[in-house]
């Protein structure tokens, strides 16, 4: 969902370059469905560059927090399909930071190996539940 789109252009040269790169990747995704990602941590970005880019991309409809090997933040920007993904260590410093252009970032999708393991664990825990006799009788009615 794009909102008014009247944000001021980023003043930082690096932020402006990135905005153009994101725009090209988003257009390609819309055209072909080919996802893309831009690594921000490898760039000599200052805090000001990051703030300007963040401000220009704005907030979208979804924000998620993951607790896995430290915290992760995934936010959709005001441009549908453009996600700002930040992975933190437990000391809360940024370990990886990227812009992802995709329907959903991969890390939000449950891996089938984990789903299979969860199903097995669910069965095990269900089997261990102590069901009151009255309910067992009800099951056989």
């Amino acid at each position: 969902m794009e909102t008014d789109g009247q944000a001021t252009a980023p003043g930082s040269a690096l932020a402006l370059i990135l905005v153009r790169e994101i725009g090209q990747a988003l257009a390609a995704f819309a055209e072909s469905g080919e996802p893309a990602a831009i690594d921000l941590r490898g760039l000599p970005m200052s805090d000001a560059d990051r703030e300007e880019l963040l401000a220009w991309l704005g907030d979208g409809e979804i924000a998620a927090t993951l607790a896995v090997a430290g915290r992760s933040e995934i936010r959709e920007t005001r441009f549908t399909g453009v996600w700002w993904v930040r992975h933190f260590g437990t000391d809360d410093r940024i370990a990886a930071e990227r812009i992802e252009i995709a329907s959903v970032p991969d890390i939000l999708i449950a891996d089938m190996a984990d789903v299979t393991a969860a199903a097995a664990r669910f069965d095990d825990e269900l089997a261990e539940l102590s069901i009151p006799p009255s309910m067992e009788e009800a099951e056989h009615v």
Partner: protein, 358 residues
């Protein structure tokens, strides 16, 4: 723990989901300058990989390299690297000692013949038959040759193992040499630095586990991902250099304004390392950000290249006059330096991507 178990199996047993591997892969792709889009494939490869047996040998060293890996790194990601490897021998970290420790080393070598990785920190003394550093009745030279014989690859961690470092500085009383001067029949990866950046150590090991091969190295045996650019290329003070604004002393107006430290001896223009981007102490800062010039600790013989406070433009022992003059004259690159650095990274990523896909 079964040798047949994969990293994914082990993590699943510990209740850690594949998302943790994906997160680690995102970090690895970023650290190794691989295409960000490759992280999903990296995660799948990591999950299916067996744990890598690692034998860590410590010779003429100060243990700063081990401290760098275990103390300065994001704890959660540190735990991840120890999920990828089986650290079968490390004198400082292992619980056992004496004969039991040596048996652990020999057992790991036997069970993983041709597949284990040897990490070395510290230089190897050769003078007087190597008597200046020995362990378990063997000189460092004997231990290195014995352990490296059936290894997959050797990783020389720190400037001492990579280039001789402080023990090898003039007059080099123990005849200290680098690992690469002894081992000629195996791949030797150098991760210099005094100490090296933890991410460079962990990233290189993780790359080996993921791809089962040595990453692209420069002419000094260093992974290009971490040592492909000079500190100067990525320094946040670079715009001041480009404008000719230099601190003349450590407490003058230029220093207080954060201007370039070139004239007070910064060796950033000739030092290849990732300090300016990965930084130190949990990403808080790096020497130049703290107000001191780079001392070039990841370059060979940095200790013998004259004063740390002498500008590069005054030719230093062991440094070509062309390099020094080039550094002095490099004022005109302009504000496009960051853009150029990024273009170079993109070009390198594309090159790596093609090789990975080949």
């Amino acid at each position: 723990m079964s040798d047949r178990q994969t990293v994914g199996d082990i993590l699943a047993q510990r209740g850690v989901s594949r998302r943790a591997i994906l997160k680690y892969a995102a970090w690895l792709a970023s650290a190794m300058a691989l295409p960000p889009s490759a992280s999903k494939a990296i995660a799948q490869s990591l999950a299916a990989a067996r744990r890598q047996s690692v034998v860590w040998l410590s010779f003429q060293e100060c243990t700063g390299c081990t401290e760098s890996l275990t103390r300065s790194f994001s704890p959660s990601l540190e735990e991840m690297i120890f999920n990828l490897i089986s650290l079968d021998y490390h004198e400082t970290l292992m619980a056992v000692s004496g004969h039991a420790a040596e048996e652990a080393r020999l057992k790991a070598m036997e069970e993983n013949k041709g597949k284990y990785v040897v990490v070395v920190d510290g230089s190897v003394p050769l003078k007087d038959d190597g008597v200046y550093s020995a362990n378990a009745g063997k000189t460092n030279l004997q231990t290195l040759q014995e352990t490296a014989k059936d290894a997959l690859a050797i990783i020389s961690v720190g400037t001492c193992a990579a280039y001789g470092g402080i023990p090898g500085a003039r007059p080099n009383p123990t005849g200290a040499v680098s690992v690469g001067e002894i081992i000629k029949d195996k791949p030797v990866i150098n991760i210099p630095g005094c100490p090296p950046i933890a991410e460079a150590i962990a990233g290189t090991v993780a790359y080996l586990v993921t791809f089962g091969k040595v990453p692209d190295l420069d002419h000094l045996g260093r992974p290009k991902a971490f040592f492909g650019d000079t500190i100067h290329d990525r320094c946040y003070r670079r715009p001041f250099y480009d404008k000719g604004l230099f601190a003349k002393s450590f407490d003058d107006e230029g220093a207080r304004n954060g201007w370039c430290l070139y004239e007070v001896g910064c060796k950033g223009p000739v030092t290849y390392n990732a300090c300016a981007t990965l930084k130190w102490n949990g990403g808080v800062s790096f020497p130049i950000q703290s107000g001191h010039g780079c001392i070039g600790c990841s370059e060979p013989h940095f200790w013998d290249k004259g004063s740390f406070y002498q500008p590069l433009s005054t030719a230093m022992p062991g440094m070509g006059a062309g390099i020094a003059a080039g550094a002095a004259a490099g004022v005109a690159l302009g504000a496009g330096a960051a853009w150029l650095a990024r273009r170079r990274q993109v070009a390198y990523s594309q090159q790596t991507s093609k090789k990975e896909g080949a």
